[in-house]
């Protein structure tokens, strides 16, 4: 699969633009190569006591199992700090 966080992609939609921002933050924080694919989606959170919606970040490494990061916030509300914190506290 090709990498798909294209910096020249149109950024008209707020959620897609935030999705592109999140990918850039993760890529920078983990020093990921261009051939590592990132995918962002929203799901309802399954954990008791957590906010309704969580953002799930999938990191498809070429040489190791796929890694997922979960942030207990809607995608549109995620900040750079939230993403860094999720990375820091992931397994």
């Amino acid at each position: 699969m090709k990498p798909f966080d294209n910096p020249l992609a149109p950024r008209g939609n707020r959620l897609l633009a935030k999705s592109a921002d999140i990918k850039a933050w993760v890529r920078e924080a983990l020093a990921l190569s261009d051939d590592t694919t990132l995918t962002i989606t929203e799901l309802a959170c399954r954990d008791d006591g957590c906010p309704d919606i969580e953002t799930v970040i999938g990191i498809f490494h070429n040489d190791k199992p796929t890694q997922t990061l979960r942030v207990h916030l809607p995608l549109g509300e995620l900040t750079h700090a939230d993403v860094l914190n999720a990375i820091a506290t992931s397994d």
Binding site: P3, R14, L15, R46
Partner: protein, 389 residues
């Protein structure tokens, strides 16, 4: 007639109120679709969508309550398997095409994965049969030009529904009458191309339904890299959940607790003026938090001729009077899909406005939560005005 192999399956998608039932009504009365099985999926505890479409005599209509994308792949595959068995056993008419009307809040990723052969599912007889008989053939998304832009900005599901489509149909284009709206409409295809570069975009006024649901190949590889990523992530999450649940059905909720669905069922016919007042209060007080309201209403003045009502966010369609009830149940049945509104206050307002014997309306108002209370108060004068008309 024998059942042909590789029966094409089409998803009919579109955010809440995009016009899916209207399209289904058109195709169910179209002779070209007499060989079509329709699976209607809705997000709500009282199934009414099947009442809002007129069934042709030779068509099969199945209702799946609960959201297919939440209940996972098993419900859709089980429904397809049941349809196949029923047709093979002459328990229902044969069919050579299936259209799955998705819930307006449906996430396409798990459903598209459900119709992708392999994917690590156990090779049961049911799975082998479904994989051998049915093929995903197309993904049609309706895009409401009035509410669509706001839905795309607020709801990730709406974004995915556009991104997964191989055919996009612009609906409510007849409402573009003023020059500014017509200009917006003209620019819309280019805007949607930024979300989905491969889909063909149609105006509903110009498109023949058989073209939308003609047998073809839906290839996820030809969709965007985003779509490929969502499908891959979905498979990872499903495997993760299956691993934890050791083979139980994949059961992930996709819609946050803020998204509520609830229903009101009322036994007695309702005076038309009171019902109009209720809708007016609800719509004004809830604003954009009322994502969808739909239902069938028994009107006291004409109890044998129910009304169909549709509200999509801030747009209410004029009630449609039916010539007769579509089934034996002659009760008023309303379904609401809301974002951040508790059912309790809505039901109390309904009860207060509709029932003579319930609590005085001012007492109900006083018991409501502050936000809803304030919103209702703003419109008290409107209620009084309407009640005097």
């Amino acid at each position: 007639m024998s059942i042909p192999s590789h029966i094409p399956v089409f998803f009919l998608s579109g955010f809440l109120g995009a016009g899916k039932s209207t399209v289904l009504n058109r195709l169910l009365t179209d002779p070209d679709f007499s060989d079509t099985a329709v699976i209607i999926n809705e997000f709500g505890d009282v199934p009414i969508d099947h009442l809002l479409v007129r069934k042709g005599e030779t068509n099969i209509s199945q209702v799946s309550t609960g959201c297919l994308c939440c209940s996972g792949v098993s419900d859709l595959r089980a429904t397809l398997f049941d349809l196949h068995c029923a047709a093979a056993g002459s328990l229902c008419p044969p069919f050579s095409r299936v259209i799955v009307e998705m819930s307006g809040l449906g996430d396409p990723a798990p459903l598209v994965n459900a119709l992708t052969p392999t994917g690590g599912r156990p090779e049961t007889l049911r799975d082998k049969t479904v994989d051998g008989i049915f093929r995903l053939s197309g993904f049609v998304t309706l895009y409401d030009i009035i509410n669509g832009p706001m839905s795309l900005e607020r709801h990730f599901e709406a974004l995915k529904q556009v991104a997964f489509a191989d055919q996009i149909v612009l609906t409510k284009t007849d409402l573009a009458r003023d020059p500014a709206t017509k200009a917006d409409l003209a620019a819309l295809p280019d805007e949607l191309k930024q979300l989905n570069a491969v889909a063909t975009i149609h105006d509903k006024r110009d498109i023949a339904l058989p073209i939308l649901f003609a047998r073809r190949s839906y290839n996820t590889v030809e969709q965007s890299d985003e779509v490929a990523g969502w499908l891959a992530l979905e498979a990872v999450l499903a495997a993760d959940t299956n691993g934890h649940q050791q083979g139980r059905n994949f059961d992930v909720k996709r819609h946050g607790a803020g998204i509520n669905t609830f229903s009101i069922v009322h036994d007695q016919p309702i005076p038309e003026k009171r019902f109009r007042t209720f809708l007016c209060v609800l719509q004004d007080a809830a604003g954009p938090r009322l994502l969808r309201a739909k239902g069938i209403v028994s009107i006291a003045e004409t109890p044998q001729q129910p009304r169909i009502i549709h509200i999509v966010q801030h747009v209410a369609s004029p009630p449609v009077k039916l010539d007769a009830w579509p089934d034996e149940d002659h009760r008023t049945r309303l379904v609401f899909i809301t974002n951040g509104i508790d059912p309790g206050p809505v039901k109390e307002v309904f009860s207060s406005l509709i029932n003579d014997s319930s609590r005085p309306f001012k007492d109900v108002i006083a018991s409501l939560s502050r936000g809803f209370f304030d919103a209702v108060l703003v419109h008290i004068n409107r209620i009084i005005h309407l009640s005097r008309r």
